[in-house]
Amino acid sequence: MSALKILRADGLMTVQDAGRAGHLAQGVSRGGAMDRRALVEAAALLGLRELPAAIEMAGAGGSFSVTEPMRVALAGAPMAATLDGAKLRWNCTHLVEPGQTLRLGGMEAGLYGYLAPAGGIAAEPWMGSRAAHLAIGIGRLLESGDSLPCGADPDPGRPARTLAPEQRFGGGRVRTVDGPQTGLFEPEVLEAFYATAFTRAPRGNRQGVALAAERHFTSEHAAGLASDVIQPGDLQMTGEGLPYVLMAECQTMGGYPRIGTVIPADLPTVAQAVPGTALHFQRVSFAEADRICRSEADQLREAAARCRNLVRDPADIADLLSYTLVSGVTAGDDLDRTD
């Protein structure tokens, strides 16, 4: 079996996929990638029909090599990437050959980058998913020296592909819908909440992200609420009235009131907001949310249709003179072709 080797781990790296949906009744949250859109884009780039198990890198990357030729997709937070010292473009696939070193440096924007091998990481699944969930003892942080078994690349000769990513690395507007506890907040509190400029606070992890604001948002009815089901995207107000956005590994039941829920389409914007990023919330109707939020299968089809063959910029080619340039003349429409 082919393998992806971690020569050096600089960031906090775990295996993540689409997570394990459907186990809330057992207290097991879905988990999976913090930026699910990145997995959609990686799958589209690699020509996959399902979201792959990839390496999620928080804060920094590392150095990698392979035991068999395989394409990898680089998605999510853009990082400084090189292959044997030659610059690689982000949001693209690249063929990595044994003996080459793939280096992924710090993030240029955002928090979570993804390295997705075309065959997927073939770690042992647990409850239907390979996603690590460290807080409950599933999986572990990846370390220097790890060798991750991967499925065979179904088509290593496929041309490199690129895709313009959905914008989500600079904070800004985050859309929400009302939830079952929205009515526990007075109309003036709701109005103030939606008029407030928040910043992403320093506290945050795969369970939830804290937001900071001048104002606090409390409910008179918060005391003694019965715990009920909580979900990624829920805007949970702590006792002192500052919101946490619940993320992939949030607990499954909670007793704090939620002022609303971030729609799935905008949750990657919250995941990728580095501390200090400005965020504001916009309340939308369910009709509007239904128009915006497409299933991940539909998102994947749409993203796949937008992928293009990668045309290398001569400035990025270190050994330009070794290329036979004239015979490489093309019709000039590479960027417009879909295949």
Binding site: A21, G22, L24, A25, Q26, G27, V28, W126, M127, I136, G137, I138, V177, D178, G179, P180, L184, H221, G224, L225, A226, S227, D228, V229, Q231, G233, D234, Q251, T252, M253, G254, T261, I263, P264, F286, A289, D290, C293
Partner: protein, 248 residues
């Protein structure tokens, strides 16, 4: 608690692909009883297009597939079912199995037993007797993987959670508040008071069934000594000597 208004079930959107049916905002025993009945009906005959059902204490969350049903249709179905449960109550669901779970009470394993006995207006011995005599059931599982909310204890156990947090309770801790028991699946911090400890681990990731208890299971606690606890807690299956009785 006695001045709670009549139950007013509401079906409310919960995220873009969920609906929550809620009997009450607070854990009133009547609302819990109605929830148990509603959940049993949903389990036996799920509404069309529902992909996930997750019961909590006085509410139940359902996820739906928007290609097979709509938010409005599911909400209407749930409100009709909830109305039926309130106005023409079906018999309380009969558990199909009962777990007998050995537990050590008091001492190092139940550091707040004395305090709890006082809140419940009884002696420590009688408090343990009441816990172990109660016909308990799993009301819901959640917060952490496999962590059960168990109830209901007799009415004299209706005291609230502490306002300050218990900084550390261990895995297996049996903690009480508001007539309920939470049995910890991992070490934690909590506002609930610890009266005992079981060797039973309801979440063991690499067990063939990682989560053993299901909502609706009946529970009986069986008192054991601290030294017996030590032996039971070492059981390789993580079940701490629990016995599963299949009920007719």
């Amino acid at each position: 608690m006695s001045s709670e208004p009549a139950l007013t079930p509401e079906a409310l959107p919960a995220g873009v692909d969920g609906v929550l049916l809620r009997f009450a905002l607070r854990p009133h025993p009547d609302a819990m009883a109605a929830m148990q009945r509603l959940a049993a009906g949903l389990e036996a005959d799920p509404p069309p297009g529902v992909t996930e059902i997750s019961p909590a204490l006085v509410s139940v969350f359902l996820r739906f597939d928007g290609r097979r049903t709509s938010r409005e249709a599911l909400a209407a179905d749930l409100e009709a079912r909830a109305g039926h449960v309130l106005h023409d109550p079906p018999a309380a669901p009969v558990p199909s199995r009962r777990w007998h779970i050995p537990a050590a009470f008091g001492g190092a394993h139940g550091p707040q037993l004395a305090e709890v006995a006082e809140l419940a207006g009884t002696s420590e011995e009688e408090a343990v007797r009441q816990i172990c005599a109660a016909d308990l059931g799993v009301l819901a599982i959640g917060f952490a993987p496999g962590q059960p909310y168990i109830g209901l204890l007799p009415e004299n156990w209706g005291f609230p959670r502490m306002s300050a947090l218990n900084p550390a309770v261990p895995q297996g801790a049996i903690t009480v508040a508001v007539r309920q028991i939470v049995m910890f699946t991992a070490d934690g911090t909590t506002g609930w008071r610890q009266v005992g400890r079981a060797g039973f681990r309801n979440f063991v990731a690499d067990r063939s069934e990682p989560v053993a208890l299901r909502a609706g299971d009946a529970i009986r606690y069986v008192p054991v000594s601290a030294s017996e606890y030590d032996g039971l807690a070492a059981a390789a299956d993580g079940l701490g000597g629990a016995r599963l009785e299949i009920l007719a």
